[in-house]
């Protein structure tokens, strides 16, 4: 117990240090630097990855519905928070749409989570009775169904159909998303170490034994599913804020696969793993490798192969390499709590160990 308290304390200190670091960073560098974009997107992906890890890594439920709950979150947020005077312009084909009020961003954010959770509850009722891959394909299907409904012309006045939603309140600095994600992840970590979290792990390890110990399978699965979706919804809303505009068409199953990649590369059942992985993933796909897309001359010598699209090829090769070399992900199911090293190496990357 005591040991646990200490680690919590150190965790909080690290968190504080991280924010100080971020603040300093923001003051030091010009806002246009790519680093901030990466940090923003990375931290948001981190939340989504962690939420998916809660389901796939800690409960052993193989779900592929994440994108579906993200899109719900994103749209809920957008629909609720777009300033009224903008609506006429954005819902250009639906004369202003039906929603004619705007909630403050933070409320919208919460609603995003709640609505996603609510849908998860409905979806979970039938689907969670399915096992492993069948559950996966069923959840994948639900994500697609949700997308179809959002794009449905008939719902246009609410969702703006196929068209973008934009001009909803967003964040400028990097502190906002980091704070939001930090809170959410902290809650997830607390949950995982609570009695309920232990029950989830028990289910993952051995359903039959868990049930024989008096753990109600359906309730706990449903609980995990709903919680995960709640945070996926918030993640979706944050993603919307980060992008500044959203379109249902972009929340494809491919997005879920990306998240799943992050989770597995990070390590099933490792929070810190998911977080580290998402930063690496975002940074290498969006930033570090971009130069590969442009023809480059070193002196008179034209670098071969470099042309648009090459970035993604290299990126996917790296992913394959990581998958093949780190079978259980870079973290396995361990957590990153070598405190000094955390602080030293990745403190800036927002790694929160969870004692």
């Amino acid at each position: 117990m005591k040991e646990n308290k200490i680690s919590w304390f150190i965790g909080l200190v690290l968190l504080a240090l991280m924010f100080v670091g971020l603040y300093a960073l923001e003051k030091a560098l010009p806002p246009s630097t790519m680093l901030f974009t990466i940090l923003k997107k990375g931290v948001i992906y981190a939340l989504i990855a962690v939420s998916m890890n809660l389901l796939n890594g800690f409960t052993g439920l193989f779900s592929l519905g994440q994108a579906g709950f993200m899109v719900i979150g994103a749209y809920t947020y957008a629909i609720l928070t777009i300033p009224v005077n903008m609506r006429a312009m954005i819902y250009q084909y639906y004369d202003g749409g039906v929603v004619q009020f705007a909630l403050p961003a933070i409320v919208g954010l919460l609603c995003a989570g709640l609505v996603a959770a609510f849908f998860a509850f409905l979806v979970g009722l039938p689907v969670l009775r399915l096992k492993s891959d069948y559950l996966a394909i069923a959840t994948l299907g639900f994500a697609e169904i949700i997308r179809a409904f959002i794009q449905y012309e008939g719902l246009g006045p609410l969702t703006n159909g196929s068209n973008l939603l934009r001009r909803f309140p967003s964040f400028t600095g990097i502190l906002y998303p980091f704070a939001a994600v930090a809170i959410c992840v902290a809650v997830i970590v607390l949950l995982i170490h609570s009695t309920y979290g232990r029950a989830l792990k028990a289910i993952r390890d051995d359903e039959t034994a868990a049930e024989a110990m008096g753990i109600n399978l359906f309730f706990h699965k449903q609980f995990s599913f709903v919680t995960s979706s709640f945070f996926a919804g918030i993640g979706g809303a944050l993603l919307a804020m980060y992008q500044g505009s959203i379109q249902a068409a972009t929340f494809k199953s491919a997005m879920t696969y990306e998240i799943l990649l992050i989770v597995v590369i990070g390590g099933m059942g490792s929070i810190t793993g998911s977080i580290i992985a998402s930063f690496l993933f975002v940074a290498s796909s969006e930033w570090w490798l971009r130069f590969l897309d442009n023809e480059m001359f070193i002196g008179a010598f034209k670098m071969p192969l470099l042309r648009s699209g090459f970035r993604m090829v290299v990126f996917s090769v790296i992913i394959m390499a990581v998958v093949l070399l780190y079978r259980r992900g870079i973290m396995g199911d361990k957590e990153f709590n070598l405190r000094r090293i955390t602080q030293h190496l990745t403190g800036k990357k927002g790694v929160r160990h969870d004692g």
Binding site: N56, F62, P126, V127, R129, L130, K131, D133, Y134, A136, I137, A138, L140, G141, F142, E144, I145, A148, F149, Q151, Y152, E153, T208, S253, Y257, L260, L261, V264, I265, M268, R307, S308, G309, F310, M312, V313, F315, S316, V317, I319, M320, V323, L324, R327, R328, G329
Partner: protein, 294 residues
């Protein structure tokens, strides 16, 4: 206009689409039956086969390019298994599946890079590409050929699986991987064979598919791939006839949905249908029930 007369063209299209799904679905279902692996890369192998054809046809006549396409595709499928799945045999199931997603990612990006993301026109294969009028519907001959060929291939495949040594081995492995291993069945050989067959059918599928829809893009395989997988699950993943029937059902139903004017939900409907089937029969229409021992 009579009911049948009105819907005939849709049903015809549906059957043909179903046939194409089936050819891909079998690849999924065989691999799953043996490795319990959702081979996400399968849809992309199908697409790559399309590009093979496009590029080779530019340099050589059909009677060379068609067999070559099939061979290359088979080699690709085989190589993918050896490179990306075999090393992970004893790794957790999830990481093999991620490897599959990775491969699919890689193939798509490679195709994008090579083609520059531009749509390519598929070569027209004489005879099957030409139009024909069946009662009230005008369509390509390939539309009619596809389902027939599909059923033919499935029957052959069933023969292979039920009456040959390798087929027996396959069934053994899909029943009980470990025991089969202990019984001295060369697992790797069996797995390779199933990938080869799967890729072969994917190649044939892509020939038929793209002679019908003559545009090849790097992502064109994604949707048929997903639908085929759904079909495989629908029919009870692991069962080949199941996959075929599932594919035809999905193909026809989604076309009828479009006919009824709910095209917005044609995909959604497919998934809804799947979920309902799974809820009624948790292992699909023809999947065998499993009692988990305690």
């Amino acid at each position: 206009m009579g009911w049948l007369e009105r819907f005939f063209p849709y049903i015809l299209a549906g059957i043909s689409v179903g046939g194409q799904y089936a050819l891909i679905a079998i690849g999924y279902t065989m691999v799953y039956g043996i490795l319990r692996l959702i081979n996400f890369a399968h849809g992309d192998i199908f697409t790559v086969a399309g590009f093979f054809m496009v590029y080779m046809n530019a340099t050589m006549p059909l009677y060379l390019s068609i067999p070559l396409t099939i061979i290359l595709t088979v080699i690709l499928g085989f190589a993918v298994e050896r490179a990306a799945y075999k090393p992970l045999r004893d790794a957790p199931r999830m990481s093999i599946m991620i490897s599959a997603i990775g491969v699919s990612y890689l193939l798509q990006n490679l195709m994008w890079y090579v083609t520059g993301g531009l749509a390519k026109q598929y070569p027209t294969i004489p005879w099957i590409s030409s139009s024909v009028t069946v009662w009230v519907a005008t369509t390509k001959i390939v539309t009619l050929v596809t389902p027939v060929l599909t059923i033919l291939l499935v029957v052959l495949l069933q023969q292979l699986i039920n009456h040959t040594k390798i087929g027996m081995a396959m069934r053994a492995v899909s029943r009980d991987f470990e025991t089969a291993k202990l019984m001295g069945i060369q697992i790797n050989r069996v797995i390779s064979v199933s990938f080869i067959i799967g890729s072969f059918l994917a190649a044939v599928g892509s020939l038929l598919y793209f002679s019908n829809y003559a545009t090849v893009t790097p992502t064109v395989g994604a949707m048929p791939g997903l639908k085929a997988f759904v079909a495989a699950v629908f029919g009870g993943i692991g069962s080949i006839p199941g996959a075929m029937i599932g594919a035809f059902l999905i193909g026809i139903s989604e076309n009828l949905i479009k006919a009824l004017g709910y095209s917005t939900f044609s995909d959604a409907f497919t998934f809804a249908l799947l979920i309902f089937v799974l809820l009624a029969k948790p292992t699909g229409l023809f999947g065998e029930k499993t009692i988990d021992k305690v």
